[in-house]
């Protein structure tokens, strides 16, 4: 290693083959209890539908399974190991009490169709979480059904469409800033809307004049992320809302960056009509290697008739029930009621914080991002000087002169014991380094990160090839992604 890092060191980790390569007939990790009913003749019961062969399914013992997955796990980086500054992903601490309470018997083993009489606990959790999220966002109503952020966008736009249809005109298109997440345009297409791009101004914000020019009666909604993907608060958000409303359009807020706002300002107060939250970002439910998430959608009153079914309601006797009879509903967006296990975790997080903790969390998230910005300003190019909220976006402009791009810097950061930031996004910044530390980082970890990034910038000057060849300290070196895509091998074969 060129420069030494104080954060990480190499250590021995185990090699491990695919599970299929450890399998041999006769090994087993299972044992069923004796059958308390008569044995059956499967051939007789199933006829030609009987399955006789399970192909290459593995046969291994329990200790091998524990070692297999434990070894694999040690090849991953994780929040539990250190800072994970992926911009727009809000990789914050996932409290363990959340995991504990989500596994309590009556919640983990609750069946979605069990009678309302013995579902009051689950409905109370849904109602309490809904009330908290409505208060946090300043909106009027909410659905918890969507399974993730993109699914929330889908649900939100379905309600936008249903609202416009009820006004006599579904309208044709959705305006989306060029800085938006890819899910925004993909979702608009799913709901049958055309996408119209909205240019950002030189401060990285929505160009209000351009919006005024593009806004007309064909536009159903503007999807805006606030703070946007540069981590910049849209200071003219209320003007934007007024412009939309004046022509009968709605303002959709992508709540991916809500971690910058909780307890400090409320989207419902600054003109947002519909928004989704990512419980797996702002509300600490674990990312789990890519999911599960949960994407509740909070709305203003006029959209309430269109909520997906069912809706949790409180009956006159104080008990709760699912209400299905909602004739204007957009319908169901998934089976049952949503990712209920994530509701438990998010609510436990809100309980652990309370109003003071939620506010302090937001303040610390913004403090951390600004501390990093200050520490790296001048070392990396800052394409937009607008004030940062919970994340900061640099570019590789300086380093790319030596042929080193954002992805190369990211790979070298791995050697320093950090997960990389988000690379090459947002699209309006060529060679972006998008850094979101979250509130979970102590000052010492931030200092190590700044030190590592500075050190890498020096390495680029001294020996760019060394950075281009990174990572140097991982189990495997850089992988051939082109080969993977050109000749896809998507499963093991004997």
């Amino acid at each position: 290693m060129k420069h030494m890092t104080r954060k990480a060191t190499r250590h021995v980790n185990q090699n491990e083959n695919l599970i299929f390569e450890k399998s041999s007939p006769g090994k087993a990790a299972w044992k069923l209890p004796p059958l308390d009913v008569p044995e059956v003749d499967t051939a007789k019961l199933l006829g030609k539908s009987e399955r006789k062969d399970l192909g290459n399914m593995p046969e291994v013992s329990e200790i091998e399974i524990i070692r297999h997955f434990t070894r694999l796990s040690t090849w991953n980086y994780a929040i539990d190991l250190g800072m994970y500054p992926l911009g727009s992903c809000t990789m914050k601490y996932n409290p363990r009490v959340n995991e504990f309470v989500s596994r309590v018997d009556g919640l983990a083993n609750g069946h979605p169709y069990q009678p309302a009489k013995i579902s009051q606990g689950a409905m109370r959790i849904m109602k309490t979480l809904s009330d908290c999220l409505i208060e946090i966002t300043g909106m009027d109503a909410i659905t918890l059904q969507p399974a993730a952020g993109a699914h929330g966008e889908f649900t939100g736009l379905l309600m936008v469409r249903a609202y416009h249809e009820s006004q006599g005109n579904a309208r044709k298109k959705i305006l989306i800033p060029d800085s938006a997440h890819g899910t925004n345009p993909a979702t608009a297409a799913t709901v049958g809307y055309a996408v119209e791009n909205l240019k950002s101004n030189d401060r990285g914000m929505v160009d209000v004049a351009a919006l005024a020019a593009q806004m007309n009666e064909d536009v159903a909604a503007l999807m805006v992320t606030n703070p946007n993907t540069l981590g910049v608060f849209e200071q003219e958000i209320h003007k934007i809302a007024d412009l939309m409303h004046a022509k009968g359009g709605l303002l959709y807020m992508d709540g991916a960056n809500m971690n910058a706002l909780v307890g400090k300002t409320r989207p419902g107060d600054f003109g947002v009509d519909v928004m989704h939250l990512n419980l797996h970002k702002t509300f600490s439910t674990p990312h789990g290697g890519g999911g599960p998430g949960s994407g509740p959608v909070a709305i203003k009153k006029m959209l309430e008739p269109f909520l997906p079914t069912p809706v949790v309601v409180t009956k006159p006797d104080g008990t709760m029930a699912f209400e299905y009879n909602r004739p204007q509903s957009v319908g169901r967006v998934r089976a049952f009621y949503g990712n209920f296990g994530m509701f438990i975790r998010a609510l436990a997080y809100i309980f652990a914080n309370g109003p003071d903790g939620l506010r302090q969390t937001t303040e610390d998230a913004v403090l951390n991002a600004n501390y990093i910005r200050k520490g790296l300003e001048g070392v990396y190019d800052l394409p937009y000087s607008s004030p940062s909220m919970h994340e900061v976006v640099f570019s590789d402009k300086v380093q790319s002169k030596k042929g080193v791009k954002t992805m190369d810097l990211a790979k070298r950061l791995i050697d320093y014991g950090f997960h990389p930031y988000t690379t090459a996004f947002p699209l309006i910044v060529p060679g972006a380094l998008m850094i979101e530390p979250t509130e979970s980082e102590p000052k010492e970890e931030l200092d190590l990160f700044i030190e590592a990034m500075k050190s890498i910038a020096e390495e680029v000057e001294e020996d760019p090839q060394f950075v281009l060849d990174a990572p140097h300290n991982t189990r495997i070196s850089r992988l051939d992604e082109t080969l993977a895509a050109r000749k896809p091998v998507l499963r093991w074969k004997p």
């Binding site: 399998s23 299972w30 069923l32 308390d36 009913v37 044995e39 059956v40 539908s49 399955r51 399970l54 329990e62 997955f69 090849w75 190991l81 994970y84 995991e99 309470v101 596994r103 009556g106 083993n109 069990q114 013995i118 579902s119 959790i125 399974a147 993730a148 049958g192 200071q235 909780v262 300002t265 600054f270 990312h287 290697g289 999911g291 599960p292 169901r332 967006v333 998934r334 809100i350 652990a352 914080n353 109003p355 903790g357 939620l358 506010r359 403090l367 600004n370 501390y371 790979k411 997960h419 990389p420 990572p471 991982t474 495997i476 992988l479 051939d480 993977a484 091998v489 998507l490 093991w492």
Partner: protein, 457 residues
């Protein structure tokens, strides 16, 4: 606040380094009229012990001491303890989508193994990892078939899970996909004559579920023939994954859209679950969702990466195969570990036990009430028709701490007083006998009431 790792002195030092006087200065970009000047009205900060107590109370209000005959898309199977021991390792629990492959080989190799096992079990060439659940997976599969065939219509079996059909209805509305529903016969299987009529030259796909909502195993080969004859694809939805251990998979299907919850995922009041789409190799570029692929590093060492990303929203934006981003990765890991624990022999034995419990229960219920759909093989559920409304029988069963079968009136009013009962390896004979006894009692009392009425007339 116990999750925040900074002392007041740290915060002061950091503000000073940034060059601002107070934290409020960092929030000045928010126009002052929109800054919240009060506390949020959420419950006060609670101690960990208080949080645990609160949720334990909710658990008590949620039938924590009941056993149940409910299935219908959410199944109660035993979950080997190694599953939670492993998925709670922070390296799996608290990592992100494995975009930085060199730092996420554990997740990637696990996904690759998951894809392999799902392919083996479903009889397909490959599988993604993952979709939100069985319902959205089925809807995405239909949209995938529309893209592949360039045709617009979808023919859906009425015996597909009613909530899956509702979700498909929501997705299809704005995709311009007309849906035609085909009924089931007295055997519980799809009405093939009706199917023949429903499938036309503009049909992109036929969507069935097998075992279907009543657990009846469909004649997949004949259905495939009918679909393929007109150039339509066959999509088979599987809601009860444990059936794959003992029921022949739909190898003739073009797409399998399954819900893998039965494989080690808690019922959890409906989620999070694990949807999966599996398909033929030739359709892979129209498949939604993440895929891990094998490749090599610079030194030729085997490794895994997320691949074929040009299908996905972060590259293709509005032209992507789906808007899905966050999926159900950790739940897929539970499924993965479950499949590894039971493996080639265990899954078959597990399927067999489910079959035996169900056969016994259906026999016993059949002595007193009508068990419908006896004309075709079934897996681990059956429909019991009673003289009395099943909800009334169920409320008496609740007194025995047992949740009876799902009354079907909401979904299938034409079946009258019918309920869908499920037995798994965890259903005990004594539970079955208690339920059968109460149903028998109900039938007897309805009969004697009728006789009394007849005498009175």
């Amino acid at each position: 606040m116990r999750y925040l790792p900074k002392s007041p002195a740290d915060r002061e030092a950091m503000l000073k380094a940034i060059g601002v006087r107070s934290i409020d200065d960092l929030f000045s970009p928010i126009p002052s009229e929109y800054r919240l000047a009060r506390d949020l009205h959420v419950p006060r900060q609670m101690a960990e012990s208080e949080i645990v107590d609160w949720f334990k109370l909710r658990s008590k209000e949620n039938g924590d001491d009941y056993t149940s005959f409910l299935g219908a898309g959410a199944y109660y199977h035993y979950r080997p303890v190694v599953i939670d021991a492993l998925v709670q390792r922070g390296e799996f629990l608290t990592s992100y989508t494995p975009y930085q492959a060199e730092f996420a080989q554990g997740t990637l190799q696990a996904i690759f193994e998951f894809q392999t096992m799902i392919s083996e079990l479903t009889g397909m060439d490959l599988a993604n990892a993952s979709m939100y659940d069985g319902s959205t997976g089925a809807a995405e599969a239909v949209m995938m078939a529309v893209r592949i065939t360039g045709k617009s219509g979808a023919v859906i079996a009425r015996s597909v899970h009613p909530e899956y059909r509702e979700v498909l209805g929501t997705y299809a509305t704005h995709q311009g996909i007309p849906l035609t529903t085909v009924a089931f016969t007295d055997s519980g299987r799809l009405n093939l004559k009706e199917l023949e009529k429903a499938v036309g030259d503009d049909t992109a796909c036929v969507l069935i579920q097998s075992p279907n909502f009543f657990a009846t195993i469909e004649d997949v080969e004949t259905i495939a023939e009918i679909a393929h004859r007109r150039g339509a694809l066959l999509i088979v939805s599987i809601a009860e994954a444990v059936s794959l251990g003992i029921v022949e998979p739909p190898r003739v299907a073009d797409i399998v859209a399954m819900e893998a919850q039965s494989f080690g995922v808690p019922m959890g009041f409906g989620g999070p679950y694990c949807g999966v789409i599996a398909t033929k190799e030739k359709f892979v570029r129209q498949m939604p969702g993440r895929l891990a692929g094998q490749t090599v590093d610079k030194k030729g060492k085997r490794g895994f990466v997320l691949t074929l990303a040009t299908r996905e929203q972060h590259i293709r934006r509005e032209k992507a195969t789906s808007n899905i981003c966050t999926n159900q990765a950790l739940v897929a890991l539970m499924v993965n570990i479950f499949m590894t624990v039971y493996g080639k022999v265990g899954l078959r034995e597990l399927g067999k036990q489910n079959l035996a419990k169900t056969a016994y229960a259906a026999d016993q219920f059949g002595k007193n009430a009508a068990v419908l759909f006896g004309g075709a093989p079934r897996f681990n559920e059956f429909v019991v028709q009673t003289s009395e409304d099943p909800s009334a029988i169920n409320s008496r069963l609740l007194g025995h701490k047992i949740v009876g079968g799902l009354p079907l009136k909401r979904f299938y009013p034409e079946l009258g007083n019918a309920a869908l009962w499920c037995c798994t390896e965890l259903t005990t004979r004594s539970m079955i006998d208690t339920a059968v006894g109460l149903v028998a009692e109900s039938e007897r009392s309805v009969r004697s009431m009728k006789e009394a009425e007849e005498v009175a007339l």
